[in-house]
Amino acid sequence: MGGVVSMAKKVRYIRGTGIEKLDMKQEDHTLDRHKGIEHYKDILYQCGKCGTCRTVYQDINWARVCPSGEFGQFEAYYLGGKNLLTWGLTKNKLKWTDNLARIFYECSLCLACTQQCQIPELHTYAGEWLMAMREEAVRAGFGPMPEQKQYTKYVEELHNPYGEKHESRQDWFPSDAFQSPNAKLAYFVGCTSSYREKEIAISTVRILNTLGIEFKILENESCCGSPVYMTGQVDYARKIAEDNVEMFKNSGVEKIITSCAGCYRALKDIYPKKFGIKHGVEILHLPEFILSNLKNGTIKFKQNVNMKITYHDPCHIGRHMGIYKEPRAVLEEIPGIELVEMNRNKHNAWCCGSGGGVRSAFKDLSEFAARERIEEAKDTDASAIVSSCPFCLNQFKTNIKNDEIKAYDISQLIEKAIK
């Protein structure tokens, strides 16, 4: 029974749930990430569309987990369906069509599905071919979606996907705030905080000023490229990455803090691992930075922020980067904060429905996902849903009706606590 014993050691059993959770160590094929479909063709067909990808099993109160599938309903919209459509394409049983491309784009790439799948290689790599299919769709002339082409055009012309003027990117900067032109630390604001959720940028700047931390905002800050990359337009996304890294080098920064989940993942993960651009700049998400300063005593929360809140894990920070503890640890340190969890949280969190180009191209799906999450937040009796991503915040604020619950970014609560 040696084999059984050794396998048992590689599987973590979750007490009381009746379900084992794969520790991602059972990979028989250890493959590179960020590759094309061909690289994964020998594992795609392991999928038997068993449906395990549809439901959260690792905790009590099993619940559906895939916004794309629950909205689209047909098998094609779940991970199992997408796995086998990809297989069908590689075996020439299917060919690229507008409809096939649409199926792959009608998904926020939140990867909640992969967390549920317990087939080792699919659990570990399915996200790679979901992304590779988008790249393939672009090459074949079927992607991205028209709305995504439009925002990409804005990025090309104006350096942001919102069609806003580049020169007004820092208009939000408070007149009484200050930055240090020679600082080695940069605050990478990102497009959504610069143009839509300016409170996040303002709060972040005020936090840094209050703490006396010298920083600067890059003079010519532009889109990080995440919305372009996520829609499979890798060639242009690579160009954006190269331009940004050149800017980092020219500005002399050694460390970057960002309050945006998408920018964080792009700078920290996509630039070096997908594009092979080693920029050597330390990248920190704001909660990571705050937590390290809480630990070394640089930061002390003084103000009581009386509020019962629930935390929404942004996909780019959570499942894509594995950061679950840090934002919670920061929130729990704030006096007066009562943090309660939604039924689906951490790696099982239900996506807000804004990422992966979904909000621009598939508004119905996007709204469906957001409403589901808002209802789940309300079930906790929290007075506010808090996230650490400007896109999530914008999504919640757009879809919350009649002030049914408040929505904040973590930076706003931190600012209140350190005043």
Partner: protein, 479 residues
Amino acid sequence: MGEINMINSEIVNELGKVVGEKYVSDQPEITFLYHYDFITAEPEGICDIVIMPNSAEEVQEIVKIANNHKIPIIPWVSGINFGSTATPIKGGIVVDLRRLNRIIEVNEDDMYALVEGGTTWADLQGYLQKYHSDLRAGVTYSPPGTGVVASCLCYGMFDLGMLGGTGAEFINGLEVVLGSGELVKVGSCCLSDYWYGRQPLPDLAGLFIGWEGSTGIVTKAAIKLWPELPYRKYYFVLGKTIDVGVPVMLKLSKVGLGICDLVIINYGWLQSFMGANEKKVPKDPIEKKLPDFAGSITTQAYTQKQHEAQCEAIEAIFKEGGLFEPQGVGSEDLLGTLPIHFWSCWNFSRGGGGQWIGSYCSTRDIAKFYAIAREKALKYGHTPQFYSRILFGGHYCVARTNINFNKDDPKEIESARQVLKEIHEEVQSIDGVVMYKAPPWAHEVYEEKTLPATTELIRKIKKLLDPNMIMNPGHGWGS
């Protein structure tokens, strides 16, 4: 396009008026996922149209349209089983029931859940965890995304099998759209709002159980639930061979002791449960002097004293029979979290393809069945995989053997077909071995063996319920 050439955009439009155009499709990227099960070695079928109704009335309308055009209709929940019974082998309309997944009622007095036809085990488990944590449904060895009702209708079985028998025996009543389009109810629900059972009426549930969707589409079913007792223990025991272990398990099946589940598996199946890659574990454990028998014994009790007494007796029996509890298999981790929906084996040891000869038979023939399966699997270079569950207080059992294969490799698929048919042919030498969720070629064998008058009765029933023979053609008895 399937055998029926009338399918066209007009029919899609007609169906779209019933369910809304979002929920019907003939686009190849959508229908591709319904054209076969993507797991077995059975031939692929053709899905012309897929549709997702949201009520029994919509199902009725769909069936009427299919009758008008004489188009095959295939009920579908997750489309996965080892007999390929939801593959549209003659083309037609696949009716994906996933929108019919509501849990309508949980009756705590009579302990049943009234669910819609497309409810999955995950849906039911989630609901019970949230609202009725003192009740439990059976836990299958299939993935949680599979259908509750489909499983019960096709004689699936659970971890409560020693108490209640197969899933079919868990069914209290059904609401069904017949192949003719009429809506019927069977069981106490046909004359009451209570779905407590099928007694004492004529048991018409038998018109739909074991027919593989060839007589009607079940839109609602009441499924028995069981109390969650406070004391429960899982034993995982090993023995040298299946021959050694089976008599002990059979003895345990006949002594009460609060035993609610008895499972026998061999080394190959155990490895599969654990998610091991078939190519990386010993094919023949006996040759390597590894234990080839593993048993799972579950007992439950209401009081601690009762529980301790039961456990003491169970341990005495398996020790006396030469079985032992292994050290270091993570019993704390594994057994403390049972029951588990074992989806690990659904990667089919990494080749993505698997099919079984899954049969019901007399408990006296468990070891005989395994011996045949083992010999044939090894002959063709497959890891022997065997599983048996003793059911309903030891009155009968299920015996199954799996053959895994690489579904990306046509030669392996062909080889799997060969070995499966050989095993099936050979186990027919054991009296009373009958496959469930059987593929069409197995049904042909049974129809030849069945009394002619019985076969004729089956055909008459089928014709009565499905006059145009449109329900899941090619599958099930009487097709």
